[in-house]
């Protein structure tokens, strides 16, 4: 991160130079998260770039990216810390063999502590605070959410055998959710909330140019236009920005310079991921190609 004064525009520029084009809303929320030191909760359709925000933020700030992927049944042993039991057992046996006395404190010391993402983020040596990405928090169960709330409230974790760990500088926290269930209100209250929408045409075009620089300007325009048509087709899973980038890259790699019917059919697999959606896209291929050609301008 540069020494420039932190404001919304600096955030936008900072993210952009690290491969993420944020609209004003997202830039404002990220700025507020940084300056108020509060976690961000990002929701939105799959593929709009929720996780990518955390990556770009880490690259920009120079903080280490620590990622916790949530799943049903995740618990403290996988999220916070665990003791290295095999090593503890070995240590016990070794002590036994040499006839020395075992002191419990010895077994529960830093040596045998396995730091999982949450403890690693709180206990981070610094100096730059890490970026803690808590991905798909809606997949974890509500007990875990309550636990998370506790940690995010005061950035403190207590390991009974070692005492309380307090973050010297709170990590920058990004939570993402796909809304498979409502995240608890208390957790939402703790966070700054932002719903990431599909980007506008111009923004999406700029994203494709940034992320697939090898693709010609004309092709990028065609792809962005074609994706806009696909999103209107009433698909099961309308393509996200991630798919737009994939499609542009695939066409570029195949040496195509236009979205024509043949090229589109050959590469639909990068944008539509359901058999039914694919059938719908194939039916509309003429419309897509015509729009793409017009979109080239």
């Amino acid at each position: 991160m540069t020494a420039a004064p932190l404001n919304v525009d600096a955030v936008r520029v900072g993210l952009e130079s690290n491969g993420y084009l944020a609209d004003e809303g997202l830039a404002t929320v990220v700025f507020l998260g940084l300056s108020l030191e509060r976690p961000l909760l990002l929701e939105g359709e799959a593929g709009v770039g929720k996780t990518e925000v955390a990556r770009a933020l880490a690259r920009w700030t120079g903080g280490e990216l620590i990622r916790l992927q949530c799943y049903e049944g995740i618990d403290a042993a996988q999220a916070v810390y665990e003791w290295d039991y095999s090593r503890q057992l070995l240590h016990l046996r070794a002590a036994e063999a040499s006839g020395s006395q075992i002191i419990e404190d010895e077994l529960y010391s830093e040596r045998f502590l396995v730091r999982r993402p949450l403890l690693a983020a709180i206990d981070h040596p610094g100096p730059t605070p890490p970026v803690l990405l808590i991905d798909e928090v809606d997949r974890a169960d509500d007990e875990f959410e309550a636990f998370l709330l506790e940690i995010l409230s005061d950035y403190t974790i207590t390991v009974p055998e070692l005492g309380t760990r307090h973050a010297t500088r709170p990590p920058r926290v990004v939570l993402t959710s796909n809304r498979t269930r409502d995240v608890h209100d208390a957790l939402k209250r703790r966070c700054l909330y932002h719903w990431i929408d599909h980007p506008s045409f111009e923004l999406e075009l700029a994203i494709v140019r940034l992320r697939a620089p090898e693709v010609s300007d004309g092709l990028a325009r065609e792809v962005a236009t074609a994706v806009a048509v696909l999103r209107d087709l009433d698909l099961y899973k309308p393509p996200g920005v991630a798919e737009t980038i994939d499609w542009a890259q695939a066409l570029g790699r195949l040496g195509e310079d236009h979205v024509d019917a043949r090229a589109a059919r050959a590469t639909f697999g990068t944008v539509v991921k359901y058999r039914e959606d694919r059938a719908r896209a194939e039916d509309a291929v003429e419309e897509i190609v015509a729009a793409a050609a017009a979109g080239r301008g």
Binding site: N7, V8, E24, G25, T28, V29, F31, L32, S35, L36, R38, E43, A46, Y71, E72, G73, I74, D75, E82, W83, Y85, S86, Q88, L89, L92, R93, A95, E96, I102, E104, L107, D138, R139, N178, R179, T180, R181, D182, D185, K188, R189, L192, Y193, H194, W195, Y236, K237, E276
Partner: protein, 374 residues
């Protein structure tokens, strides 16, 4: 509207009046956010509020309107009825040309099984019907169910583990703890086995006019399930999809049903099951709500929408759900055959097809749900 300390308070109050749940703590956060972004740029003021005061994408419209009204001196907010503007008016005519009364079945003078009548509704009626205002035997019937409904529910293996005597996976943590108690000697080895957790249960209830004789009793039943179990999601399907789980969490059944009734605009209206299922699959199902879950569809299968759509959406649901149960109150009727086009289209994707017309039938349903565990 110029005073910096005044803005968060006034805006918070306006949002509360529009139905967004803004607490004092939220207003304080907004004040802090405004302090950070400054008041010079309208968009910054807007986005600072979006980040601190809005927690649900459904509230964004209301937020935008209230913001416009307060800060841009925009037109007065349209009344809340605005949300009803995009409604489809569906008219229901029976395929064979008869005006009314599709099959009337299941009338049994001996056992006193409720009379089954199916009506096509002529139009979507967005009436705010009060479930609780319709009293009757159904209500008592459902009330007695409360005692029986506390079933354990179907379980699945969880990733969490618990300690066990049986020799399953070695538990190093437990072994170390025990060893320490015995002076460092690992004499006893511990083991763990996976715990079991209740499978998610998803209920999709048809609330169209043709289901009306059953709606109240079935919703009572559904409420009993929500109260008894964790991880249950309830949706109503008529001409649109509505999630009513939050409304049903009140323990008092009357209060819960009243709360649900206010949220379901298409109660007693027409049926578009295919479109309702499509919305469910798109917005909830495939994202995870229905994955590995037991999905129970409560409907008579009389559908005014496209049967092909219903068939393909049921197939899609079947591919992600653990099990799909269809509860059809008409099934009890003598000589019932799934002739309703919607029902016929849905059946190939249904694992269990059960009745739902009486207390006994609902008890059967509970057994089906319990059986479909693991």
């Amino acid at each position: 509207m110029a005073d910096a300390a005044h803005i968060p308070v006034a805006f918070g109050r306006a949002l509360r009046e529009s139905g967004i749940d803004v607490t004092a703590a939220d207003s304080i956060n907004y004040a802090r956010a405004l302090n950070a972004v400054g008041l010079a740029d309208r968009n910054h003021v807007y986005w600072a509020g979006r980040a601190t005061l809005v927690r649900d994408p459904q509230d964004i419209d209301v937020y935008d309107r209230t913001f416009g009204e307060l800060f841009d001196g925009g037109p007065p907010a349209p009344t809340t009825a605005e949300s009803a503007v995009d409604l489809i008016v569906a008219y229901d005519t029976p395929p064979d040309g008869h005006e009314h009364d599709a099959p009337s079945s299941g009338e049994d003078p001996v056992s006193g099984t409720p009379v089954v009548t199916v009506r096509w509704s002529r139009a979507e009626t967005l009436r705010h019907r009060d479930f609780a205002s319709l009293s009757g035997e159904e209500l008592d019937e459902a009330r007695t169910l409360m005692a029986d409904i506390r079933f354990a529910g179907a379980a699945r293996r969880s990733r969490r583990r618990h300690e066990t005597r049986a020799r399953r996976r070695p538990d190093l943590r437990g072994t170390v703890r025990t060893a320490l108690r015995h002076g460092g000697e690992p004499i006893r080895r511990s083991y763990t086995a996976p715990t079991r957790r209740a499978r998610r249960l998803v209920l999709l209830c048809d609330v169209s006019g043709s289901m009306e004789p059953y709606t109240r009793a079935l919703l009572r039943f559904v409420h009993a399930i929500v109260v008894a179990r964790r991880s249950v999601e309830v949706f109503t399907v008529g001409t649109r999809l509505t999630r009513i789980t939050p409304a049903l969490t009140s323990r008092d059944p009357d209060a819960a049903l009243r709360a649900a009734a206010t949220q379901v605009p298409d109660l007693g209206g027409g049926t578009r099951l295919g479109e309702g299922l499509r919305s469910f699959n798109d917005q909830w199902g495939t994202r995870g709500t229905a994955r590995g879950a037991i999905v129970v569809v409560v409907s008579d299968g009389w559908d005014r929408g496209d049967p092909d759509l219903l068939g393909s959406e049921m197939a899609r649901l079947r591919r992600i759900a653990h099990r799909v149960v269809w509860v059809n109150p008409l099934k009890a009727g003598e000589g019932y055959a799934p002739l309703a086009r919607g029902m016929a289209a849905a059946l190939p994707s249904v694992d269990d097809f059960v009745e739902g017309h009486s207390l006994a039938a609902l008890e059967d349903l509970v057994r089906v749900i319990e059986r479909t565990g693991t």
